[in-house]
């Protein structure tokens, strides 16, 4: 690749539910990011958004609704369904193709208008088999957690440790939805939700409208002193029926390898300064750390206990509080990326890491027990 793509600016809503009108929110965030980037709407090259019909207040063909509120009137644009990192990479592709100098990326999910995520994820099932026995994402995660404990000896204490760490981190994040100090005992006292998952181990349902401006190398440098560069990306999808898959040997290693290869990363634990992972269920953070090569298979619990993934550790994971603290289903991938961007820029406020951050990893997953994963690497 001869050309580089830079992230110029980001704007996002906090995760707490509001009764703002949806289109007003999309407009405000799109306008905020364009103003911050100093790009007029007329100069926007292309607009790529991510949204998903069922997670969209009951409106089908999701991007019809917010097309013009999202700055795309008479623009060339497109939409990715389900995963907002897909929208990011699609915008990167469009810039790399040479057809566009700038792109506006949107992630849109107004959780407050939707029923519970478990209702909506139930519609991921096929009508003939998994729907009839009532599968949803939380059940899939519960099955995955039990296997994780049974096969690799992960303990409830370790799972609870993820909650304590991430919710503590979230206290310093103005965008976080769940803000409360919790102890291990609080986690143990939390109501059983879907045994072995307790309520507090499951992410909330949040709002999240986020916008990002990308630009090709020369322009990004003009627009900002501190562009953050796209370095690598990878995604991968697993098979459909839960029972056909090994829930602990999923597709994240594949996705990560693609991203690492593109970014030239050989030793992820050493070369990545911060990782923002998508852990809608607490135990998944440990499993994903293994998949990403931060530790050996089955060592995710020990990694957490060692403090390595804490804010002062050598591979801080989710200094923002992660998805456990804020979960706008479709846009959560872009939120992870935005956190990485702010860390690299040194603009993460209270949650800014003490060490120098040059390379950040953003991960997102959607589907039952991590059926689909996406990983993006960005850096200074």
């Amino acid at each position: 690749m001869t050309n580089r793509v830079g992230i110029v600016e980001v704007a996002m809503t906090p995760g707490a539910e509001t009764k703002e009108y949806f289109l007003d929110q999309v407009f405000k965030i799109s306008k905020e990011v364009l103003d911050k980037a100093g790009v007029a709407r007329d100069d926007v090259g292309t607009v790529i958004s991510a949204s998903s019909d069922v997670f969209h207040g009951g409106m089908s063909c999701a991007n019809s609704y917010y097309w013009d509120a999202g700055a795309a009137f008479l623009k060339n644009g497109s939409r990715q369904d389900g995963e907002s990192l897909f929208a990011f990479i699609y915008a990167v592709m469009r810039i790399l193709s040479g057809n566009y100098d700038t792109a506006l990326v949107l992630g849109v999910c107004k959780g407050s208008e939707n029923p519970d995520d478990d209702v909506l994820t139930h519609f991921f099932t096929d009508p003939f088999y998994q729907r009839q026995v009532g599968l949803n994402e939380t059940i899939a995660a519960a099955l995955q957690k039990r296997e994780y404990m049974d096969r690799f000896g992960i303990t409830e204490e370790q799972c609870a440790g993820v909650v304590v760490k991430n919710l503590k981190n979230a206290l310093g994040n103005p965008y976080a939805h769940v803000k409360k100090k919790v102890s291990l005992d609080d986690v143990f006292a939390s109501k059983v939700f879907m045994d072995p998952l307790k309520e507090i181990e499951c992410a909330p349902k949040s709002e999240g409208i986020i916008a990002m401006v990308l630009a090709k190398e020369e322009l990004a440098k003009k627009l900002t002193d501190k562009p953050v560069w796209f370095k690598g990306y990878g995604s991968s999808i697993d098979g459909f029926y839960l029972g056909d898959r090994d829930l602990l040997e999923g597709e994240l290693p594949n996705a990560a390898k693609r991203a690492y290869d593109a970014a030239g990363i050989k030793d992820p634990r050493k070369e990545i300064d911060v990782a923002e992972l998508c852990e809608p269920y607490a135990f998944q953070e440990m499993l994903w750390c293994e998949d990403l090569g931060f530790c050996e298979r089955g060592e995710g619990g020990k990694l957490l206990e060692s403090g390595a993934t804490g804010v002062n550790g050598d591979i801080p994971v989710n200094p923002s509080g992660g998805v456990l603290a804020m979960n706008p289903y479709v846009s959560r991938g872009l939120y992870r990326l935005a956190e990485g961007f702010l860390q690299v820029r040194g603009q993460a406020g209270e949650r800014q890491l003490d060490k120098e951050v040059n390379t950040a990893l953003a991960h997102s997953t959607h589907g039952f027990a991590g059926q689909c994963h996406a990983v993006a690497i960005i850096g200074s």
């Binding site: 009137f73 699609y90 057809n99």
Partner: protein, 388 residues
């Protein structure tokens, strides 16, 4: 402009009311067909793009999960593109940009819909928000009737002439469909039958409207080196254009339809087309309604505004005319929404590679594919050529 991108093969299912297969099995037919037609191994595919119209039409959300195996995507990078009715052509754009960006050399693109498993008009209603528009717009036919009326009144075209031109298109396309092995509705119609058919929403009558089809379309995009290496006849992507306008139906004019004009302009600009009627050899215009096809001829610059009816009646856009439009029978005869736009691209690619069989336009070198989506809100155009 990025590096050259080629379409090196496609596969379509037979269309119809396909209650003989499940949704994934239907998609498998198209995907198997593209691998058989090209001889490419699924293992060599570097990325997969999937899409349907609104997932809830069939009641399954985020369908790429459900289709993971049949898309041959397990263990592979995947993208999921959806832009309402224009999903098909947006899928093709995703494949194009993926290759053009240099991030992949061989990308499989699959669009599908199983409309008979859902209720298309009920689903269309959910595209409209419940505060305002949902109470007034009666599915797709309502939208298009309003648009065609706005257009014909604006340009002072007599009602009888619009009817006659629309009837001509309907009779021709339903007849053309006999030469397309994958088409859904094939019918010998008389002008009287079309003129006197049941009114859906005036002036739209039964034979002015596309059917609900079940079907899928798969296509492979390749870089220049890969296309050469594989030795397949490429259809080169010469231009791409897409534009969208306001969600509120009443905010933009639909007669001189800016997003359609702009989409074509972008694509023509890339392809160096200055006189589309002369430069293009064949066009696969997205025509869910006969009246709208007429309007597109004008927005795409095939003729001046207000002229489409006259020229259609003269046969300018017929199979043997100056610029044949929809020799496949088009969307009017086959409409699996999430695949429809991709079908248009597939047909346009077959034409410039001389593989369109019985509905081949002899010597076609430059073709146009098009799709529309939203509440009359988006248009996308792709230009394909036999040469780079």
């Amino acid at each position: 402009m990025g590096r050259p991108v080629a379409i090196i093969g496609s596969g379509q299912t037979h269309h119809g009311r396909r209650f003989d297969v499940t949704y994934p099995e239907l998609i498998k037919e198209a995907v198997d067909a593209v691998f058989e037609n090209t001889g490419i191994s699924p293992d060599d595919i570097e990325g997969v793009v999937s899409g349907t119209m609104p997932s809830m039409m069939e009641g399954v959300a985020l369908t790429h999960f459900y289709f993971a195996e049949v898309l041959r995507s397990v263990g592979k990078p995947i993208m999921k593109t959806e832009t309402c009715g224009s999903t098909g052509i947006s899928l093709a754009f995703t494949g194009y940009y993926w290759v053009a960006s240099g991030m992949a050399d061989l990308v499989l693109v699959v669009g599908s819909e199983k409309m008979n498993e859902g209720d298309s008009q009920a689903t269309m209603t959910t595209v409209l928000e419940p505060f305002y528009q949902r109470s007034f717009i009666a599915g797709a036919p309502g939208v298009f009737s309003m648009q065609s009326q706005e257009w014909s009144v604006k340009f002072g075209i007599p009602e009888e002439k619009v009817r006659a031109a629309a009837t001509r298109l309907s009779v021709d396309h339903h007849n053309d469909a006999f030469d397309n092995p994958y088409a859904h509705i094939k019918k010998k119609l008389t002008e009287d039958e079309v003129n006197n058919a049941r009114i859906i929403t005036y002036p739209v009558r039964l034979w002015d409207v596309c059917p609900n089809s079940d079907g899928a379309c798969a296509m492979i995009f390749a870089s220049e080196e890969m296309a050469k290496k594989l030795g397949l006849t490429p259809a080169w992507v010469r231009g791409v254009g897409y534009s969208g306008e306001e969600y509120w139906f009443g905010d933009s004019e639909k007669a001189i339809w800016q997003c359609a004009i702009d989409a074509a302009k972008q694509a023509y600009g890339m392809a160096g087309i200055t006189n589309p009627r002369k430069d293009l050899d064949v066009a696969e215009v997205y025509n869910p309604f006969t009246f709208q096809e007429l309007l597109y001829y004008e927005c795409f610059g095939f003729c001046d505004f207000g002229q489409a009816c006259d020229l259609t009646l003269k046969g300018v856009f017929s199979r043997d005319g100056e610029l044949p439009c929809d020799p496949s029978g088009g969307t009017l005869c086959t409409n699996p929404i999430g695949a429809t736009g991709l079908n248009r691209v597939a047909e346009a690619a077959l034409q410039v590679t001389g593989q369109a069989g019985d509905h081949q336009i002899p010597g076609a070198k430059l073709s146009l594919a098009h799709a529309m989506g939203g509440v009359d809100q988006y248009n996308g155009v792709m230009i394909l050529g036999s040469e780079k």
